[in-house]
């Protein structure tokens, strides 16, 4: 890749915060670090990965509103966690977390457990109990 071929396809994924560097050949035939704001295939792949996450979050949100899952399920998906990973953050097993993903299991949580979940998911206890309408 030559320096002038380093792509500059900006999909605003870097939010204008910085440019990344790629190694490319300059006119002296030496490699140098060349800033780039992005490249179409990378942007596509990254957006696609987020689509998968967002679809999961959205379908979970609907399931919560339909009374099939607890709000904890929504916030877990929003944090891109599964019961295993969330369990590690609150010092609990995946199985126990799974139990709390049901409205019934969630209703049985005491204050301490709610606080622990909220802290792991970077939200308040009040936020943990609801999902966006």
């Amino acid at each position: 890749m030559k320096k002038e071929e380093v792509p500059q396809d900006d999909a605003n994924l870097l939010e204008g915060k910085f440019k990344v560097v790629k190694y490319a050949l300059n006119d002296k035939g030496e490699f140098e670090k060349v800033p780039s704001v992005g490249w179409e295939p990378e942007n596509v792949a990254l957006e696609q990965a987020w689509d998968v996450v967002n679809e999961k979050v959205e379908s979970t949100r609907r399931a919560v509103l339909a009374g099939e899952l607890s709000p904890l399920a929504y916030h877990m998906e929003k944090n891109m966690m599964d019961p295993g990973l969330l369990g590690k953050h609150v010092g609990s097993s995946a199985r126990r977390v799974r139990k709390h993903l049901s409205p019934k299991g969630f209703a049985e949580l005491d204050k301490d457990q709610l606080v622990r979940y909220a802290e792991a998911l970077l939200i308040t206890v009040d936020e943990l109990k609801t999902v966006p309408q």
Binding site: L14, V21, A45
Partner: protein, 338 residues
């Protein structure tokens, strides 16, 4: 909570990759001038593996480099650098030790989870617990950060840094931090570079398992050919998108580290007085360009905008050719080094 302000005069150089970048920046601080490509090459950073049995988010892992942390280890061994490494039981201990080392005037490298680094763009913040950064000071409740993939330095709140250092999952990083305690000044970069290069050539050309080294590329090619059949259209697209990300996203410097490796070959050739390394470098650059073509076409397919001639089969052909070329390349390279 706020301790005293500290500032280590640290020269931040932007890098393509976090591990080689932190390594290069830390070495430069300790008087050992080594560029990112040289650090990457001395640490034998380049590799290839496709591991269907190892999955992240349900997608088989494909990697264009050796395991995280190995670049550090191999580099340190080859240049007799002594690193102090710590892990901790609690975030509080991890922060206390960080403060203590900063107080000695030393910059500290550490592992973090990108998910918990608020200064990074949202789109890049997945759960990945292997991101290396350097902390080189503190002001009140904020720490000064040299994140090698960024063009400038940044800051992070103490609470956020604690969280990023103690993210759970794979791997469980437990506040892992490291800093050089002994960096020899009269080192032989050429000999270390030759050792690193030999190891890479050997591992790429001769690793006996099908999923590792240049052979791994052909291995993936066979899988890719059947992706639509095996995974369904959506699953195939997700797996393809993942390949592009592993190859091109923040951190590889383009073409899955192939360009950085070519830069290493050129620099080592100059230092060693081996003009033929330049030819190797240009040959690897041409291979890297084909990796880029592959990613470009894969991107079209992912987006559903591909011209009729771009299919999983045509991409598999491209990958198979790349595997053959890399096999030849590394065999030739190994021969020229022996």
């Amino acid at each position: 909570m706020s301790g005293k302000d500290l500032l280590v005069p640290f020269d931040h150089q932007q890098s393509a990759h976090c591990e080689s970048g932190v390594l290069s920046n830390l070495m430069n601080f300790h008087g050992l001038k080594v560029s990112e490509p040289m650090a990457f090459g001395i640490g034998s950073g380049l590799f290839y593996s496709h591991m269907p049995f190892l999955k992240m988010n349900g997608i088989p892992v494909t990697s264009y480099r050796i395991l995280p942390g190995w670049i550090f280890d191999r580099f340190s061994k080859r240049l007799n650098v002594r690193m102090k490494r710590n892990k901790f039981r609690t975030p509080q201990q991890a922060m206390d030790e960080l403060d203590a080392v900063l107080e000695k005037g030393l910059p500290v490298g550490m592992l973090t989870s990108v998910f918990y680094l608020p200064y990074l763009p949202k789109a890049f913040r997945f759960h990945f617990n292997g991101h290396n950064i350097v902390v080189f000071g503190r002001e009140g409740d904020e720490y000064l950060v040299s994140d090698p993939v960024m063009d400038g330095t940044t800051r992070i709140h103490r609470a956020a840094l604690m969280r990023a250092r103690f993210a759970k999952g794979m791997p469980n990083i437990r506040g892992r931090m490291y800093y050089p305690v002994e960096v020899p000044q009269d080192v032989d970069l050429v000999s270390a570079g030759m050792k690193g290069l030999k190891r890479t050539a050997r591992d790429m050309a001769n690793t006996p398992l099908p999923m590792f080294g240049a052979k791994g590329i052909g291995f993936l090619s066979k899988k890719l050919r059947n992706y639509e059949k095996d995974l369904g259209e959506k699953g195939a697209r997700a797996a393809l998108g993942n390949l592009i990300r592993m190859q091109e996203e923040i951190g590889t410097g383009g073409a899955g580290f192939r360009f950085m490796f070519a830069a290493f070959l050129m620099e080592l050739g100059q230092k060693a007085g081996r003009p033929e390394f330049r030819d190797h470098a240009l040959r690897m650059t041409a291979i890297g360009d084909q990796w880029r073509d592959f990613a470009y076409e894969a991107g079209r397919l992912c987006k559903g905008r591909a011209e009729a001639h771009i299919t999983y089969a045509s991409l598999a052909d491209k990958l198979r050719d790349l595997g053959v070329q890399e096999t030849h390349f590394f065999k030739d390279l190994a021969r020229s080094l022996s």
